[in-house]
Subunit: 307 residues, 2 copies
């Protein structure tokens, strides 16, 4: 691989940034990786693990001379970071981010950047329920999608460089309108997470079923929800606060359908239930065919010697 | 292992029955395993794979002389099977089942059985999204729970034999009141499945987001729902028709909490969201500590060479 960016600055050093660091090393696409995180502890871990070559104790210092700056902090922290780094950005630099919401990040970041840099928002659709600098790994983005939303940005060379960068990190790249991104993600990620959090909350709250029962008997479906609902609370708070409209729209559709199925259960309409449960199988088949999940039952969890 | 039952008859030869067949062979707890399934195709597969020693072309024939009969058909088919086998049951035999709902199965089966057999309902809390005779494997029940609901049954020796049997198949065994079982399972399994089906249905239905987008960008949470929602439609129709009351109760609690979080999003109440998302993490920790899930991020899906 050839180097695409001489100096890459990662602002925020959690799951996504550390995975990017590892993947950049694997691909050899960055000359030097400079990191900044809020806490000294995180910065020290980044150096110890080695997914950064150097860390700085402020975001402003970290971006000096960087050809690519990637904002890897929670969505709600993007504006402050943009304001802090703006004076120190190199002319001609590319600024990007990995935030799970795009319209509000664009509104928070773009107005604060100088004219002579290119801001190209991005969102790698890859993650786990873990967070922090120790949770990253080079393979996180392999065969996953990274969506760029370079809305009305005429910086063609800069966009194609960033695409090459993400492809070198293992991802497939797609471009999209930011509002459409936020709607698609509300369906494929944000509302599913809210629902999982809610279901786990209900179980936790239910006086007549003990937590011990919930825990022991979780294997029948519920534990998949608990994994999703173990994700970072700050990240998810920021997602919902910043993708309010699309989340509420999809939630509305969801409760509508849920009420319909609820009525079918109440009425004992087996045919409606059977039809509904049959239709949803096709989507699963599509996901397997597209290579976006493993085709081993139960995530391979019950295979010999899994636990 | 010593033989606990000389002859075991499995009625229905899908995921659960085939896993039981494999696990019985592994443990050496059954002298002979006799199988019956509705279709000749399934019966032939059972013989070919060898998780049954013999198959019969009717349930009535399969149970002749059996010391243990296990009903492994969908919950809605239990009554007919009970009626068919009743005349041929051996005096003193133990009759059990693996149905995901207990009260309605008891109501469907118990009145149809003769006085001189012991009916001890059971539910192994283990499964995958797959079904049919080829989907079973010996390890399915290892370290999972099997709940017996031997309500008011004074057949102490018969109950303890059945417990030993399930332990030999790898499971932990617990006894419970049938109505309580149905409530616990509504929380840990039935409502989560309904929600997953609904979410997948919503995504499939949404004109403004294409199926291709849903499929490609599913890695951010949604694909876990599609796995759950790929389960057998007949089994799940029967579960909801037969656990109506508990399902509707938990659904009511779920929508109540969901509306509360929805309001928090609308109002922009970040603190409420953050608190809620923090609380649910404790349940996940409990499940990992109890050995009911693997502690590898994202089910190990993103680990090197997974796809
Ligand atoms: N996790 C996912 O599944 C996923 C997937 C795709 C995109 N994303 C997006 O990627 C971004 C980062 O997520 P992540 O999972 O990598 O998070 P993470 O593991 O929790 O790491 C967040 C990093 O941001 C720093 N940070 C937090 N608040 C900050 C603030 N107010 N000012 C400055 N730095 C701050 C943290 O510093 P300390 O370590 O010092 O606290 C930490 O280094 C988010 O925008 C998220 O929406 C996440
Ligand atoms: N899957 C799970 O996760 C899980 C977990 C715990 C308990 N359970 C319970 O276990 C039972 C079986 O589930 P499974 O997953 O093993 O199902 P499955 O793989 O779909 O197999 C069902 C079996 O029952 C037979 N069958 C279906 N309808 C019948 C009828 N009307 N009369 C006679 N036989 C019939 C089928 O015969 P053919 O093959 O000829 O069609 C098949 O052999 C259900 O009561 C379910 O609630 C399931």
């Amino acid at each position: 691989m050839t180097v695409i960016y001489e100096k890459v600055a990662l602002i925020g050093l959690g799951l996504i940034a550390s995975s990017m660091g590892h993947a950049m090393k694997r691909a050899g696409v960055a000359g030097e990786v400079i990191g900044y995180a809020r806490s000294k502890e995180t910065r020290d871990i980044a150096l110890e693990i080695g997914f950064c070559d150097r860390v700085e104790d402020s975001a402003a210092k970290a971006v000096v001379d960087a050809d690519l700056v990637v904002l890897c902090v929670p969505v709600g922290a993007m504006a402050d970071v943009a304001i802090e780094i703006a004076p120190n950005l190199k002319s001609g630099a590319t600024i990007s981010d990995v935030g799970s919401v795009k319209e509000s990040v664009i509104n928070a970041v773009a107005p604060n950047l100088p004219e002579d840099v290119s801001f190209i928002p991005a969102h790698p659709l890859a993650g786990t329920e873990q967070s922090g600098p120790r949770s990253g790994f080079a393979e996180l983005f392999d065969n996953r999608w990274c969506i760029l939303t370079p809305n009305g940005m005429p910086h063609v060379k800069e966009v194609s460089d960033l695409k090459s960068f993400w492809r070198a990190l293992g991802a497939n790249v797609e471009t999209m309108d930011p509002a459409h991104h936020d709607l698609v993600l509300a369906v494929t990620s944000h509302v599913p997470h809210l629902i999982a959090y809610t279901m786990v909350g209900v179980a936790d709250d239910l006086g007549r079923v003990t937590d011990e029962e919930v825990v022991n008997y979780s294997a029948a479906g519920f534990r998949d929800f608990t994994r999703i609902a173990a994700s970072d609370p700050t990240m998810w708070r920021d997602v919902f606060l910043n993708n309010k409209e699309a989340t509420l729209e999809i939630l509305g559709r969801f409760t509508e359908e849920l009420f319909d199925l609820q009525r079918a259960i109440r009425r004992g309409d087996g045919e409606q239930l059977h039809d509904y449960f049959t239709r949803t199988r096709a989507i699963r088949r599509g996901i397997l065919d597209a290579g976006q999940d493993m085709d081993v039952p139960n995530f391979g969890r019950n295979m010999p010697h899994d636990d």
